[in-house]
């Protein structure tokens, strides 16, 4: 686990969402879980009760590769409640054809180094914290060279 989630363990926290995102207990790196329709072969993320394409109820978990390319991003300076600004978010295109939107975990002074097309990898991080200090842990994106950075 990363530094960030280790610190969060000290307080109440929830994982959003255990079906979407696995943090292996053997210490290997976290990854996203795609769903592959057993009937039509279409891939989906995150988990859905039925395949939107063919309505099959049988979808098999399909672990996704950990690195994708940044399609676009922004630095949000007016965030939702529970989220600190500035906050980098982006859409990452993965090799299996799935695009995922999530926070990009880089320090404010590194945000200027973000580039469309760059490689980002999936990690675990605190994505929001409510007024009572309750943290939500989920997937975040990090540049390959700086995957251990905190915020």
């Amino acid at each position: 686990m990363t530094e960030k989630t280790a610190k969060a363990d000290e307080q109440e926290q929830v994982i959003f969402h255990p079906d979407f995102f696995k943090i292996p207990e053997d210490g290997s790196k976290p990854y996203l879980v795609g769903l592959k329709c057993r009937n039509c072969g279409q891939l989906w993320f995150p988990k859905l009760p039925i395949c939107p394409a063919c309505w099959s109820e049988t979808l098999d978990e399909s672990p996704m590769e950990r690195v994708g390319k940044l399609y676009t991003y922004t630095i949000m300076n007016v965030p939702q409640p529970g989220v600190k600004a500035p906050l980098a978010i982006g859409y990452v295109d993965f090799p299996n054809g799935i695009r995922v939107g999530a926070q990009i975990d880089v320090l404010p002074d590194q945000m200027k180094n973000l580039r469309i097309g760059m490689d980002l990898q999936v990690g675990a991080g605190v994505i929001r914290e409510d007024k009572n200090g309750k943290k939500t842990i989920s997937y975040v994106f990090r540049p390959l060279a700086a995957s251990k950075g905190g915020k």
């Binding site: 922004t74 949000m76 007016v78 529970g82 054809g97």
Partner: protein, 384 residues
């Protein structure tokens, strides 16, 4: 299907902070529309009201507005699909008249954002939306579209600012708009950053307002001596879910919706004199001039630099000042656009008047849901 005409429109001002409650904003708009139509309130046979109860906490909002005006006892429904709510109300009212269900129907759009709990913060995400929980906001999504658009097509922050400057210039002629002072490209680019590259002056402000539109058959319109403003098309569609590599610079739901609307109306972009579009952010006119076919994909940069979207150009976008300078009372905007288009088609738009305005299009989308371009898109094409 029968032809449907606008016989009365009414608006409040666009308020930063309304002195009236949400219900009274609605009542004022209805009062003005009924008087404009020259009918009695009891002649209205069905009423549809667009408002976002998810923001306001309202229950039976429309009944609260209309029944104390003596307009109860008729079919009445509240409709919501985010920013399209007011346009959906118009859609349903027009549909009743078109299908012979009623001869006169009314649509109302209202939002009192400043009285809302959520005011001053970005809209809260649905707890189960995987992108919402990540903190992605509506400005964030449009900022990401802008970023990609700039990368692909060479647009600069100054290009985006051009739209804000133009719509502010238009708003200066609109007595009801929220802003009347001119702004410059430099001011827009240097304003506080909301979500890079979008600044405060590239983003629509929260606003309170009410709008009402009364529609009727051709016979009623002629009896009343209304200046003829007719619906050529009313289009409403929903997003299509995808996890794939969508082109975020091509507004899928608007491309599809505009195509369907043109087909129904029997007109094309070359016939449209003005557009009220969903310019919640200044990048939207680049995206929507393209999506609506006024120029090719990626050609919005040059189209807007050359004033193609302004008076004297191919089509006037947002002659009232748009959401950018009137403000965006979410549940109201879709109806407000149709009120403003009606004034243009009647040649009653004063200093805002688009010369010889024959055909107008109004367009509003709405709803940030992961996997969708937008949750909803609503388009009306009207002609004099």
């Amino acid at each position: 299907m029968r032809d449907v005409y606008v016989i009365g429109v009414g608006m409040t001002n666009y308020y930063k902070k309304s002195p009236l409650s949400a219900a009274d904003l609605g009542r004022q708009a209805v009062f003005n529309a009924v008087r404009d139509a020259g009918i009695g309130p009891k002649q209205v046979q069905s009423i549809y009201v667009g408002e976002m109860p998810g923001l306001s906490g309202s229950i039976c909002f429309g009944q609260r507005v209309a029944t104390t005006m003596g307009m109860g006892g008729v079919p009445m429904m509240n409709v919501e699909s985010a920013c399209s709510s007011g346009a959906l109300a118009v859609n349903l009212a027009v549909k009743d008249v078109a299908n012979g269900v009623t001869d006169i129907s009314m649509a109302v759009g209202v939002q009192n954002i400043s009285a809302t709990r959520a005011s001053g913060t970005a809209f809260s995400p649905d707890a189960n939306d995987p992108e919402g929980v990540q903190g992605i906001t509506m400005p964030g999504i449009y900022a990401m579209r802008a970023k990609r658009y700039m990368e692909e097509f060479g647009a600069t922050p100054e290009d985006i600012a051009l739209v804000a400057v133009k719509n502010r210039r238009h708003a200066m002629n609109n007595p009801r708009s929220q802003f009347h002072d001119p702004i410059t490209v430099e001011q827009v680019v240097n304003a506080r950053s909301i979500s890079d590259p979008l600044t405060l002056l590239m983003s629509c402000p929260n606003t309170d307002a009410g709008a009402a539109v009364i529609v009727a058959t051709k016979e009623k319109a002629m009896q009343l001596g209304s200046k003829p403003v007719r619906f050529l098309a009313r289009e409403v569609t929903s997003g299509i879910f995808s996890n794939g590599f969508r082109d975020m610079t091509s507004m899928e739901i608007t491309v599809r919706g505009a195509k369907e609307a043109y087909e129904i109306a029997g007109v094309g972009p070359e016939d449209i004199d003005m557009v009220e579009c969903h310019d919640a952010f200044a990048i939207n006119e680049h995206l929507y001039t393209e999506a609506m076919g006024f120029c090719g994909h990626g050609e919005g940069v040059e189209f807007i630099r050359s004033g193609g979207n302004d008076y004297g150009g191919k089509v006037v976008f947002s002659p009232r000042g748009g959401l950018l300078s009137c403000g965006h009372p979410t549940g109201c905007s879709g109806a407000a656009q149709i009120v403003e288009a009606t004034w243009q088609l009647r040649n009653e738009a004063g200093a805002m008047q688009v010369p010889d305005c024959k055909v107008a299009m109004t367009h509003v989308t709405g709803g940030g849901i992961y996997g969708l371009d937008n949750a909803v898109c609503t388009i009306h094409i009207l002609s004099r």
